[in-house]
Amino acid sequence: MVSEHVESLQPITWQEPRDSYDVVIIGGGGHGLATAYYLATRHGITNVAVLEADYIASGNTGRNTTIIRANYAVPEAIRFYDHSMKLYQGLAAETGAQLFYRPKGHVWLAHSEMGMRTEHGRCLMNQAMGVRTEMLTPAEVRELIPQIDLTGGGRYPVFGASHHVEAATARHDRVAWAYASGATGRGVHVLQHRPVIGLLRDGDRVVGVETAQGPIHAGIVLSAVGGWVSQVAAMAGVRLPIRTHPLHAFVTNDFDQGLDKIVASTELACYVSQTERGQMLIGAEFDSQPSFSRLSSFDALRSYSYKITMLLPFLRSMRILRSWAGLCDISADWSPIMGDTGVDGFLITTGWGTWGFKAIPAGGEALAERIATGRTPDLIAPFGLDRFRRDHVLADQASAGTR
C-alpha cells in the first residue's frame, strides 16, 4: 500500500470574491492555476482571481494520463516541452509539495518501416535540441519492458522504438493543488463553482466577466478553459481553429510485478503506465466525432483493451476498475494556442488536446510573463493564434500519441 502523503498536503485559502481584479483567469485547471501562481511568485501580481465552474482540477487536469515528456517533432515544441519538464523537476522543491514526480522513460514502439522512420526522425530532432531520445532495437525494448510481446500478438510486430529517457509521470491533482496553494498563499483568489456565462465589454475591449453569481471586472481576462473554449472565445467574438473530442481512459487493479516504463505506440495510438498505487493506467485515441459528452463508452474500452493486450498480454488477466473521459480541444495543427487573440484585454491558452498536463508549468510561466510585461515570451511566440493566418502552422500530429 503506497503512502498517499496526505500529511504533506498544503492548505488552500478560500476567499470571498471582490468586485474587480487586475487579472481574471477563467478555468481552475492546471494552466489557470499555474498562471496565477507564476503571476504571484515571479511578478508580484496577486490581485488575481481564478474562476472555476466546478471544483479545481475537475476537468482535464484531473482526467489525463499524467505523462510528462518532451519528445516532440518540431523544434518549437521540443524547446517548450523540455522547458516545462525542467520546471516540473524543480516544482516539488519550489512549492514544498509532494507531487509523486517519477522519471520513468517513454518507450514509443514502431510496428512498420514507416513507424521506424517517424521514430528515427524524432530521435534526431530531439538530439539536435538537446533532449535525450535514443533508438532501441527489439531486444533492447525487451530488456526495458520484460512483459512485452515483441510479435504484438502476431499482428503488430515491434520493429524497434524510440526511448525518451527523461520522461516522467506525476500525480495530476497534486500539481493543481500545489499551484492553488502557492497562489492563494500569496493573496490570489481561487473561486470554485463560479461558471462564467458572459464577458463584459467596453467597446471592443474585454473588461471583465459575467458569472452566474454576478459581474467581476478585470484589467485582463485569460481563458484557460478546457472543453468549452470555443463557447468562451465566442463570447469575445473570437473564432478558433479547434474541435472538441472526448478521450477515454481507464485504470486496472494493481499489477504487482511493476512496469517501469511508459509504453506507447503511435501507430496503435495507445499508451500505458503504472500509477503510484500500482494500477495500470491506459489511454488511446480520442473519439473521431467531436462532442462534449464525458460519459465513458464500452466501445472505447473494448478498442483500447484489444490494442494494449496485443503488446502487453499480461493485461488480459487484469480487471478494469474505473473509466472516465475528458474533453480534448484539438487544434487544426495539433499544437497549443497561447497568447493574444486580437481582442484587447482577452488572452487565451487552449488547444491543449491530449497534451496539456505536461505543459502546465511552462504554459503558466509564459502566460504570466505575457500578462505581467505585455510582451509575448520567445518560448511561446510561435504558438500564437495568428500563426494560422501567417501560414506558420506547427503540424505535429505524430507527437500527440493519439489521433
Binding site: 470555443s230 478558433l240 481553429p241 474541435r243 472538441t244 467531436p290 462532442s291 462534449f292
Partner: protein, 78 residues
Amino acid sequence: MHMLDCPRCGRRPLDEFAFGGERRTTASPIDDSDARDFDEVWIFDNPDGLTTERWFHAAGCRRWLTVQRDTATDTVMA
C-alpha cells in the same frame, strides 16, 4: 453512440464510418473574401448542441450521408 443509420446499408456500427466534419447550414456572415476563405479552411464552429454533419461510410457503401447529432450528449437525432 454506437450505431449509425446508413440510407443504403441500414443500421451499421460506428467503426465503419469516418467523421467528415460539420456542414455549415448558413452562409458565412463574413464579407471580406480573404477572411471568409481563411474562416472556411481553418475555423470550426465546434457547437455544443444540435449539429448537422457529413459522415463517410468508409467500410460500407463508400458514399456520404448527412447526420444530425447532439454533441452535448453525443446522440444521433436523424
